[in-house]
């Protein structure tokens, strides 16, 4: 079975007003199918930059990156969009739900770009909301839900297309610790069901429960295991 994501000596340098900012300086990492990887590291060490690359939201400026077996440097913008839609589910620290849109329609959004009709989108979204424990919030809007509920909606949205990898960048960063724990428990149960999970966290205990831990420092992996 091919690995979900393979990064080989991947780097990413930002150009800011003519100054080069090397956010990643050569990172190699493999995410196997069904894997559970925790990434830790100080703020500014390049964790988000790496996650964006792994999720196909951005492209490396050096090295080779394979997502779902495909070399992202050879993909067109449309193919990248398809990859983000089908292979990857992304969960952000700040949820990024559409306001004025129900939980169900937020979750169904990725299915829009698969050309799936509204009725089926809503059915699948409702089922996915049930899976994350929000069967009673189907028609609620983000401003009618707690932070923990909003993040569960975001997780349901990431899962609705049945991706092989779930990428979560500090998903509990905006939540109180009790709520954060329940969100992490949800991610772990999803992993138990076979979805590979890559999780950025500051919580050592959480990281310890992962299959593998990666420590980032100054754009490099300083420790892995």
């Amino acid at each position: 079975m091919t690995a979900a994501i393979v990064a080989d000596d991947v780097s990413r340098t930002y150009e800011l007003d003519g100054v080069s900012v090397p956010a990643l300086r050569g990172v190699s990492l493999t995410v196997e199918a069904g894997d559970y990887v925790a990434i830790v590291g100080t703020s500014g060490s390049g964790k988000s930059t790496l996650m964006h690359l792994l999720g196909g939201l951005d492209r490396p400026t050096g090295g080779t990156l394979l997502i779902g077996g495909r070399d992202v440097s050879k993909l067109t913008p449309d193919e990248m969009a398809e990859l983000r839609n089908t292979t990857i589910g992304f969960v952000f620290q700040s949820f990024h739900l559409l306001a004025r849109t129900t939980a169900q329609d937020n979750v169904g959004l990725p299915l829009v770009y698969r050309g799936i009709g509204r009725r089926e989108r809503r059915e699948r979204a409702a089922a996915m909301l049930g899976r994350v424990g929000l069967a009673h919030r189907v028609t609620h809007r983000p401003n009618q839900m707690s932070g923990g509920e909003q993040q569960r909606v975001a997780i349901a949205r990431a899962l609705v297309t049945g991706p092989s990898v779930l990428l979560a960048d500090e998903p509990t960063g905006n939540l109180d610790s009790a709520t954060g724990q329940s969100v992490l428990a949800l991610l772990e149960s999803l992993n138990a069901d076979g979805v590979a999970v890559v999780l950025v966290t500051h919580d050592r205990d959480v990281a310890a429960r992962a299959h593998r831990q990666i420590v980032m420092k100054d754009g490099l992996i300083s420790a892995a295991g």
């Binding site: 964006h52 999720g55 939201l57 951005d58 913008p77 449309d78 969009a81 398809e82 983000r84 839609n85 089908t86 992304f90 952000f92 990024h96 559409l98 004025r100 959004l109 990725p110 829009v112 770009y113 698969r114 050309g115 799936i116 009709g117 509204r118 949205r157 297309t161």
Partner: protein, 394 residues
């Protein structure tokens, strides 16, 4: 499905910013309304004038001394009633030949006076031109041959001089000379703000005596059939040229007049529409501006949509639809406003207006096109946004 979602999102975006959407549409509404209303007024005016010229009757040939050309000075007429005898022989039917000598005169009835266009004419006028009487009788051949001082009034002249009283049999003076009213024309209304009912018909002989002249100003002939009108025109001009070697004569048919008037009014309508079109363009620039603002405001939303799988073109279509929705909604409202304005103008003012499907369709089509043209740049900008950059924007 993607398109349905794009429609839904575009509608939702416009609804969420109702006031801004309305203000943006206003430019398009005014532009489209201006095009529709101005074209309607141009078309209405054209139709009215054409109807009037057609109302003169078909197969009409007008002969005047001089050349009919822009900038040529009016020629003083050498025509007399002797020429009419010659033309009658050419035409072969004197009931088909009419003449006129016109002069503006003060007309008085009792204490009331008004300025009117006195027309010295033959008894053939109502058959050559289509003119119907409201009351009384028209001039007779005897009236003309004896120079009897009888008059037929235009509806406006009759109203101003006699009000509700019946003018038939009453005395009036024209240029100080006494005439007896024997008939009143049906009203014709106005054209281009000119009252066409302010006339007085008298026998040409009486008019000549009043004015102390033998001349007549012009001749009108109703040709027996359309095919021979050119032939007849040449024969008449040749006859007149032979009798007056020093003068040029021009003959125009009613169709030629219609053609020229139609061209002039067509150009005028086109110019009006073009001016109105410019305001539509200005409206389009407004749409473009607002769309750019909208893209900036929704940068995060665009980033999120891209993150979950929207292609550049999915985002582009969404914003393009929003722009087109703005302008076509504006276009429909503008059409309604323009049509309403045209109907009001037509009903409440002497200016005629006629709605045309082509102008409505054109204005709507242009507003949709404006949406596409001015929506493309913002839509492309939105489509090309980098998902990471868009998501990091706070």
């Amino acid at each position: 499905m993607r398109l349905a979602e794009a429609w839904r999102v575009a509608l939702e975006a416009l609804r969420a910013n109702r006031l801004r959407s309305m203000l943006t549409m206003l430019g398009v509404i005014i532009g489209v309304a201006a095009v529709v209303a101005l074209v309607a007024i141009g078309t209405g005016t054209k139709q009215q004038i054409e109807n009037q010229v057609e109302g003169l009757g078909s197969n009409l040939l007008l002969v005047v001394p001089g050349r009919i050309e822009a900038g040529s000075a009016p020629t003083s007429s050498p025509l007399t009633l002797d020429d009419i005898d010659a033309i009658n022989r050419v035409v072969g039917d004197r009931t088909r030949v009419a003449v006129t000598i016109a002069s503006g005169e003060t007309v008085r009835a009792g204490s009331r006076t008004r300025f009117a266009s006195m027309q010295g004419v033959l008894e053939t006028t109502p058959t050559v031109f289509v003119r119907n009487l409201d009351r009384g009788t028209y001039l007779t051949r005897t009236d003309v041959s004896t120079g009897r001082r009888v008059a037929v009034l235009g509806a406006g002249t009759a109203r101003d001089l006699f009000g509700d009283r019946d003018p038939i049999g009453r005395q009036i003076t024209i240029g100080g000379v006494r005439f007896r009213v024997i008939g009143v024309f049906e009203p014709l209304g106005q054209s281009l703000g000119v009252d066409r009912d302010g006339e007085v018909h008298v026998p040409v002989t009486a008019a000549q005596r009043l004015l102390g002249t033998e001349r007549i100003d012009g001749i009108a002939i109703r040709a027996p059939d359309r095919e021979r009108i050119g032939e007849l025109s040449d024969a008449v001009v040749a006859t007149l040229a032979e009798r007056h070697p020093d003068t040029d004569f021009s003959a125009v048919t009613q169709e030629q007049i219609l053609g020229v008037l139609g061209d002039i009014l067509g150009v005028l309508t086109g110019v009006l529409a073009a001016i109105a079109g410019i305001s539509l363009l200005v409206g389009g620039v407004g749409v473009s501006n607002i769309m750019l603002v909208s893209v900036r405001e929704r940068t995060k939303e665009i980033g999120l949509r891209k993150a979950v799988g929207a292609r550049p073109r999915d985002i582009g279509v969404q914003f393009l639809l929003e722009a087109v929705l703005l302008t076509t909604t504006g276009g429909i409202l503008g059409m309604a406003l323009g049509a309403g304005t045209a109907l009001l103008v037509d009903g409440l003012s002497p200016v005629p207006a006629a709605l045309t499907w082509w102008s409505m369709t054109l204005a709507f089509g242009v507003s949709a096109a404006v949406g596409i043209v001015f929506g493309v740049v913002p839509a492309q900008r939105a489509g090309r946004l980098d998902p990471v950059v868009a998501l990091r924007t706070e």
